[in-house]
């Protein structure tokens, strides 16, 4: 491996940084109820980022033999690059975050196969017509950052994920159900996934007519994740704030939604997917409120957007190998409320429960709008789930809906291992359905 930083110094760059990744992932995949494919992916690469004459340049490669060409390429690109509004950081004080587990690295192929097959067999005992697929994956990812300011840090991170689901076909009526979880520390309890899948299947046994118009909507933790968080948090991204395209970019410190909602970005939670001791520019991780009791509290900044806004990086930088870092969320933690989950249904004469969406995010979300087909949702009648709704769309604005909040459940649940949220009941969502 070339000493790319030394090469960059030799090439005379004022500031330079080398970002290097090596990862290995080993997913196995089940199709039509049995094991179908075993995969192993080895990925490695290096990116050289420089600041020269006040401008930014980056070039990357996954070809070890081409690393020597990176300083030359960057030199060619940098005169056209963006003006840099920061200096590369030196070493910092990093928190201890548990994101590596030897048990994942030493997990056997047979154990992974057994995990997947057990899930499929268990659910098919009661639902033999369900056509199941599953995936079980383990991986280890190593990344390192060195720069001319003396930073020289790295960490390994393991990941383990289990997902399984099935398709049920009854004439032209089809149902797709799915459950899954991922973590950077090993977990062995997967029985709850079977229960969840069976619950989805049972709730969807009957179909029901969609109540249309502005009816009460309960978003399950998964529904919150699918519908609300992205359009809401887009406005907290440093890039939107910097360009003035955030709807709340000039409202820091003001109440923007109901005071029962607090949302944190927290890369220091042990075992979560997305946790890390420092971000992809080497800035130490910390727990930070984005919304504190309904008040816009902090925006997500990397070095470049922070520099532009006369702020400091919040440690929010993420990056792919071949692109410049940009601000983003790491692990989202939405604070629970005080309503027991069952009580969310109280007093709903007609409403819907939203679990999964289709097509969310494909549209203009910048102002907080959301629109999607409800791919898995149920009708609530007199406080009870009475059947699955289909050919249904919801639309609304997240700032409006979360200001018309009715209740927040008292337990936050992990959704796929990278987000923790309670269920939320609100008004202000328009429901439309095919006639």
């Amino acid at each position: 491996m070339a000493d790319l930083l030394q090469n960059a110094k030799d090439a005379g760059f004022e500031q330079a940084e080398v970002y290097r990744i090596t990862s290995q992932s080993q997913p196995i995949r089940f199709e039509a109820n049995r094991l179908k494919e075993a995969t192993r992916r080895d990925t490695s690469g290096a990116a050289l980022r420089v600041i020269q004459d006040g401008r930014l340049g980056l070039s990357a490669t996954t070809d070890p033999a081409a690393e020597g060409e990176l300083p030359g390429r960057v030199k060619e690109l940098t005169p056209f690059g963006a003006e840099a509004s920061f200096e590369l950081p030196g070493p910092g004080d990093y928190p201890q975050v548990q994101i590596y587990d030897e048990a994942i690295e030493s997990l056997t192929f047979d154990a992974m196969v057994q995990t997947g097959q057990t899930l499929i067999d268990a659910v098919r005992k009661d639902w033999p017509d369900l056509n199941c697929s599953a995936s079980v994956s383990r991986g280890v990812h190593r990344q390192s950052l060195v720069n001319t300011a003396g930073l020289n840090v790295s960490f390994p991170q393991t990941s383990y994920s289990v997902g399984f689901g099935g398709e049920l076909v009854r004439g032209d009526d089809m149902l797709s159900v799915w459950e899954g979880f991922g973590a950077s520390l090993m977990f062995t309890d997967t029985d709850w996934m079977i229960e969840s899948l069976i619950q989805q299947l049972e709730r969807a046994r009957n179909t029901a007519d969609t109540p249309t118009g502005q009816v009460p909507v309960i978003f399950t933790p998964r529904g919150v994740s699918a519908a609300l968080l992205r359009p809401l948090l887009g406005g907290f991204n440093g890039k939107s704030v910097m360009t003035g395209s955030s709807p709340i970019g000039d409202r820091l410190g003001e109440k923007v939604i109901d005071e029962r909602i607090s949302i944190f970005d927290d890369p220091t939670i042990d075992g979560a997917i997305g946790s890390r001791p420092f971000d992809d520019e080497g800035i130490p991780s910390r727990r930070m409120a984005l919304i504190d009791h309904g008040v816009a509290s902090n925006f997500l900044y990397d070095l470049q957007t922070a520099g532009r806004m006369n702020a400091t990086s919040t440690g929010a930088a993420g990056r792919g190998l071949s692109t410049l870092p940009g601000p983003g969320t790491s692990v989202l933690d939405v604070a629970p409320g005080d309503t027991p989950y069952e009580d969310l249904f109280l007093g709903i004469k007609e409403g819907i429960l939203v679990e999964r969406l289709l097509g969310a995010g494909q549209g203009n979300e910048m102002g907080g709008d959301f629109k999607a087909n409800v791919s898995l949702g149920y009708k609530i009648e007199n406080g009870k789930i009475v059947g699955r709704i289909k050919d249904t769309m919801i639309s609304g604005n997240v700032y409006d809906a979360l200001s018309k909040l009715e209740a927040v459940s008292d337990k936050a649940e992990w959704v796929y291992g990278s987000l923790r949220t309670p269920a939320i009941r609100c008004l202000g969502v328009e429901v439309a359905a095919a006639g």
């Binding site: 340049g57 490669t61 289709l358 549209g363 203009n364 102002g367």
Partner: protein, 470 residues
């Protein structure tokens, strides 16, 4: 699928013969039912603006390979960046396949092809200097900002050269090279908490002149973003809609393309029954095709990623399901012919059944004919994206206008539309005569995104289509 917001890979020229020899040598004594090796080199450039300034200009090169093996119906797949020791990669893939397999490997017979396919190049982006590319994008960004009231803009240019060497244990040896050019332009306007956006996404196979002559379109994007702030919303529900060729192309991809991919069907007896050839899905005027052999589009190629020659497949003919898209495995298991639709987004992934260029064939109607008699409807144009899950699908418009008494009237906020494959295709009651192609997107499936595809259609009219509120 999704509109382009990112993309790219280029290539060092390797000596083909040596590479092919090395690959074939690595296959000797493999001990599996089937093995294939793919090696790839790529090179991409990207220029991106955010608001008034350049945000990123970068160049990335990649190299890597993969081996896929089948033993007793089980598949093993390994991918890597370090392509030195191919023999040990083959061994590992075969071991993995052996650990999985317990049935029988079934692949449709194909004549092993030996070919060296040069890239389709109308106007090679490699012949244009980076500073020239940047000057052109500067110009478009300036044009957006010439509209009063603009808050922000995004301009992205990308080109990507990808060379793929393929060999398999049956003797196929296919080298192919692809050059793609993409461009995405959008404008944002804001008034307090209301943030509106307009844009478009285009692409080409090997034609840099894609980005010529966009002045009018770019100006229109700026104006539309600002006008959207004053545009009213619309109530959700069933409506008569007319789709422009770009959005109708996305509709073809989502409404029927995905469900015609045989990997959804081939292992489910129930789905095989439902998706049986001969079933009526639309009125007799409806014809949908897909094919990598349709030339010079973003989904065009001579061979798919299993080395199977591509063709042009009728999916729906006269309203009736007549064909579907296959890999060699799905074709064999369903007793149908392989269609050349096994595609991998890169060496990092195994080939799976994908669309290429998906088209609703034109009919006779003019746009005026389609508008006639529509007393209250929505004219939807352009697109953000689309998704399919089982029989339900969505497609998202970039522009929407009210239709009243047969006339296109005021702009409204863009809506999202939703359909059901068993109902919506029957509800198409008018097909235009003005085929247009949408080449500005990429398709995502099973973690492989964005795969270059194109889709196209004339204007179409759908009765009682579910439209979201906006």
């Amino acid at each position: 699928m999704e509109a382009n917001t990112s993309q790219s890979p280029t290539l060092a020229r390797s000596t083909d013969l040596t590479i092919r020899d090395q690959m074939q040598d690595a296959l000797t004594g493999h001990g599996a039912d089937f093995v294939e090796i793919r090696l790839e080199e790529s090179d991409s450039s990207r220029i991106q603006y955010r608001a008034r300034e350049i945000e990123e200009i970068g160049r990335t090169s990649g190299r890597g390979g993969s081996v896929r093996a089948a033993v007793k119906g089980g598949w093993g797949f390994v991918s890597f960046n370090d392509t030195d020791d191919l023999k040990s990669r083959v061994k590992l893939a075969v071991e993995q396949a052996r650990a999985v397999g317990g049935e029988k490997t079934t692949l449709a017979e194909t004549e092993p092809q030996v070919a060296n396919v040069p890239p389709v190049l109308m106007n090679d982006p490699a012949n244009v200097s980076l500073s020239d590319k940047k000057d052109r994008m500067d110009h478009y960004n300036d044009l957006i900002w010439s509209t009063p009231g603009i808050q922000s803009s995004t301009v992205i240019y990308g080109d990507n050269r990808r060379r793929v060497h393929y060999v398999n244990s049956e003797g196929a040896a296919v080298d192919q090279e692809f050059v793609h050019v993409i461009c995405y332009i959008s404008a944002v306007a804001r008034e307090g908490g209301d943030v509106q956006q307009a844009g478009f996404s285009i692409g080409s196979l090997g034609d840099f002149s894609l980005i010529d002559g966009l002045d009018d379109e770019v100006r229109a994007v700026g104006k539309r973003a600002v006008d959207l702030l004053k545009a009213p919303g619309i109530e959700g529900g069933d409506r008569t809609v007319i789709l422009d060729p770009v959005l109708a192309g996305v509709f073809a991809h989502e409404a029927f393309g995905h469900l015609s991919e045989a990997d959804h069907v081939y292992e489910s007896d129930q789905l095989k029954e439902i998706m049986v050839l001969g079933r009526k899905f639309g009125q007799p005027h409806l014809n949908i095709i897909d094919g990598g052999a349709i030339p010079s589009l973003r989904g065009s190629m001579e061979y798919d990623d299993e080395g199977t020659p591509t063709k042009r497949t009728d999916l729906i003919r006269d309203g009736v399901l007549v064909g579907r898209l296959h890999s060699r495995e799905t074709a064999a298991k369903m007793g149908e012919a392989p269609s050349g639709n096994a595609r991998a987004i890169s060496f990092n992934h195994p080939p799976i059944v994908r669309m290429t260029n998906t088209i609703i064939e034109p009919g006779d109607a003019s746009l005026e004919d389609l508008l006639e008699g529509v007393d209250d409807g929505v004219y939807v144009r352009n697109w953000y994206g689309g998704m399919t899950e089982m029989e339900m699908f969505t497609f998202s418009s970039g522009e929407a206008y009210r239709i009243r008494n047969g006339r296109i009237e005021e702009m409204v906020r863009p809506v999202k539309l939703s359909g059901n494959v068993f109902k919506t295709l029957h509800q198409i009651d008018g097909i235009g005569n003005d085929l247009g192609m949408n080449q500005g997107g990429g398709c995502g499936k099973a973690g492989q995104s964005p795969l270059p595809v194109s889709n196209g259609s004339p204007h179409i009219r759908i009765q009682n289509c579910l439209v979201s509120g906006a």
